[in-house]
Symmetry: C2
Subunit: 106 residues, 2 copies
């Protein structure tokens, strides 16, 4: 799939991955994999950005000797998802513009 196209979905996708409860990076990648693959460096970059934008909060916890950082979505994060949903009709109209068939050409 076109890399460019999915880039706009990465942020919101990461938020969606913690929408129903907190999770951590490694798990999120596995959860998103069937829909959208992203590398670790990409995800952790995005998570840091989303944290800066206060769309999620982080807490560190130890799990089996290993560090885990659990991410939880905030109100702003949920708003971001809602905003995406609202943008969708615009995306659909662009989609129609791109794929529309011209009548009576040629």
């Amino acid at each position: 799939m076109d890399g460019q196209l999915k880039r706009g979905l990465l942020d919101v996708c990461a938020l969606a991955a913690i929408k129903s409860g907190e999770s951590y990076g490694y798990q999120m990648i596995k959860d998103m994999k069937p829909y959208l693959e992203m590398s670790e460096s990409t995800l952790y970059t995005i998570l840091k950005r989303l944290e800066g934008a206060e769309m999620l909060t982080v807490r560190s916890a130890e799990h089996g000797g290993r560090l885990r950082k659990y991410y939880r979505i905030t109100r702003k994060g949920l708003d971001r998802i809602e905003e995406f949903r609202e943008d969708w009709s615009m995306i659909l109209s662009i989609y129609r513009f791109i794929t529309r068939e011209e009548e009576a050409h040629e």
Copy 2:
């Protein structure tokens, strides 16, 4: 609308704007405006890139004392639009992942 989200659509949108016949930059911007706004510098950057990728061809012509560069879509350009169309089902599945409702949470 979210800037990030539309970025993946810019290229294909520009191609779509010349799908039904050749056009020139300034006109293309006006044609796309109802669906997607992009600045001139963005469009001309994209047009140059698409030309490099052989998805369109250019010819210069004078029109009322002013220069105009007319762009025409190529086979590869049409293939690109088709590819976009094929990617769409993947986009829809990501959309569903993002917006799905969790049952029995709260």
